[in-house]
């Protein structure tokens, strides 16, 4: 008898629960009509950002390419007359990219960054290959103040040895002698 009560009770609970959901209304968001604002740090389309003074951040160090678990990043390093490295060509195969963000973590210059823009599917897989022109943007992305060359210990015309951020002036080792 108790068992029968249990059966009836659980049936009623089940049917009541499903009925409630009819009046709750759908939780669906209609995608192309309504685009949910994505979190700023969600990972999709990759960009190459620039310094606060508008110069390419990428120094073609190959770290992103090495970190990439699916090997979708390739580039060719080059050097300009003032000794600054840059990528002669830079290619990301979005057909392979898994948007893991490891390249962004590996990048010492904050050049390569992932953005929330995800709507770049295509029927032709060759169109998914992005060249440097497609990736390069003219803003700083997530880090508006960072400039690699202000931190790097490489002396140049503007910043001599010891002139970088958080860098002590050079010490004459001979004066340290007892």
């Amino acid at each position: 008898m108790k068992e029968l009560f249990l059966v009836v009770h659980s049936l009623c609970t089940g049917f009541y629960t499903t009925l409630k959901h009819i009046f709750r209304g759908p939780a669906t968001e209609l995608y192309p009509e309504y685009k949910r604002p994505l979190p700023a740090r969600s990972r999709a389309r990759i960009i190459l950002t620039v310094d606060p003074d508008g110069r390419e951040r990428c120094v073609a160090c190959y770290l992103c390419s090495a970190a990439c678990p699916v090997d979708c990043i390739s580039m060719q390093a080059a050097e300009n007359p003032e000794g600054r490295r840059y990528a002669a060509w830079f290619r990301i195969n979005f057909g392979r990219c898994i948007y893991c963000g490891l390249c962004e973590e590996a990048c010492p210059t904050a050049a390569i960054q992932l953005t929330p823009s995800f709507e770049h599917a295509d029927r032709d897989i060759l169109k998914m290959v992005a060249e440097k022109e497609d990736l390069q943007v003219d803003h700083c992305g997530k880090d508006p103040n960072y400039n690699f060359y202000h931190h790097a210990g490489v002396a140049d015309a503007i910043r001599p040895k010891g002139g970088h951020v958080n860098e002590s002036p050079p010490v004459n080792v001979r004066t340290n002698m007892p």
Partner: protein, 329 residues
């Protein structure tokens, strides 16, 4: 000769109207089910083809028709091709005896609103239900696939078991109506629908009819979680569509039979008779969709236990009680 021709023409018109209606309704029941199921799960359901997804059945049809019709290499070709037709045809044929309304009088001619008023209509209905087992069994067997085979074995066992309960649950209705003809059964409910006098029979009939039409929670023959999709695993294209169509026509058959046996058939106030039947069919189908949205699938031994140990004894007791009450009165 002229009289014979007119009769023949009227018959053909009736068949055409019923076939069109049933097939159209089957197409839109798919949409209704998907929409309702969506709502039950806090989704929207199909809404891209036409307003509210009203063209969904059309696009589904086009898709099924243009898909490749694959026949497995080891399949028994002829039976494989034949099986889906059995399921769809038996379901459609059942509608031949369902009365759609009171007799129509047109130009001094009495036109019954039923394709054929058989005096053994009930037996005919059960014969068709039994034949539809062949579609399932042959389809599964001819596929030469383990999953399909398992599905059809389950289907055969389940449908044959529940046919007993189905038949026995209707006996009290036949006793009350005093006839096996579906038209007479509806006429006997002029005062009150039989659901009020025979609630137990209604529950047994409804449960075993759901098992008969292989709906969740009785969808053991399909059991997509265990068997791929059971007896129609190997079917594709429009042949799969035929199984699908058969299933949805069977839902309507179930709705129509529930209406005829327990809800007073086409009888009802205000609305015209065929519309009342339609309303009742849609009501029953909605209840089935609700059940589908709520209950999980039975385990196989539970399914057999429910059929043999509960429904059949209950139906037998119900017959005895009905008999005593009738003799007592």
């Amino acid at each position: 000769m002229g009289l014979w021709l007119t009769g023949y023409a009227i018959l053909m018109i009736k068949i055409a109207v019923i076939l069109t209606g049933v097939l159209l309704l089957a197409a839109y029941l798919v949409l209704l089910e998907r929409k309702l199921l969506g709502r039950f799960q806090a989704r929207i359901g199909p809404n891209r083809t036409g307003i509210f997804g009203l063209l969904q059945p059309v696009s589904d049809g086009i898709k099924l028709l243009t898909k490749e019709d694959v026949i497995p290499q080891g399949a028994h070709r002829r039976i494989f091709l034949f099986a889906p037709a059995v399921v769809a045809a038996t379901a459609l044929l059942t509608f031949a005896v369902v009365p759609m309304g009171p007799d129509l009088h047109l130009g001094g001619r009495k036109i019954p609103m039923v394709v054929t008023d058989m005096n053994v209509g009930l037996l005919y209905v059960f014969a068709m239900a039994s034949l539809s087992v062949y579609g399932v069994v042959l389809g599964g067997w001819a596929s030469d696939s383990k999953y399909a085979m398992l599905g059809s074995i389950r289907g055969a066992a389940q449908m044959i078991s529940y046919e007993l309960a189905l038949g026995l649950s209707i006996v009290p209705v036949v006793m009350l109506a005093g006839s096996l003809s579906l038209v007479d059964i509806v006429d006997a409910q002029a005062g009150r629908p039989f659901i009020l006098v025979q609630p137990l029979a209604f529950v047994i009939f409804f449960l075993s009819a759901m098992a008969e039409s292989k709906r969740i929670p009785f969808d053991l023959p399909e059991a997509e979680a265990e068997l791929g999709s059971g007896y129609h695993t190997e079917y594709s294209g429009m042949r799969f569509g035929m199984f699908f169509l058969g299933e949805y026509v069977q839902m309507q058959v179930l709705g129509a039979l529930t209406a005829v046996f327990f809800l007073g058939g086409w009888r009802g106030p205000l609305l015209p008779a065929p519309l009342w039947l339609l309303v009742k069919i849609v009501l029953v189908v909605t209840a089935m969709i609700w059940i589908r949205a709520t209950l999980p699938r039975f385990r196989y031994d539970q399914l057999m236990g429910l059929g043999w140990k509960f429904l059949i004894p209950a139906a037998l007791i119900n017959i005895v009680i009905t008999g005593f009450v009738m003799v007592g009165i």
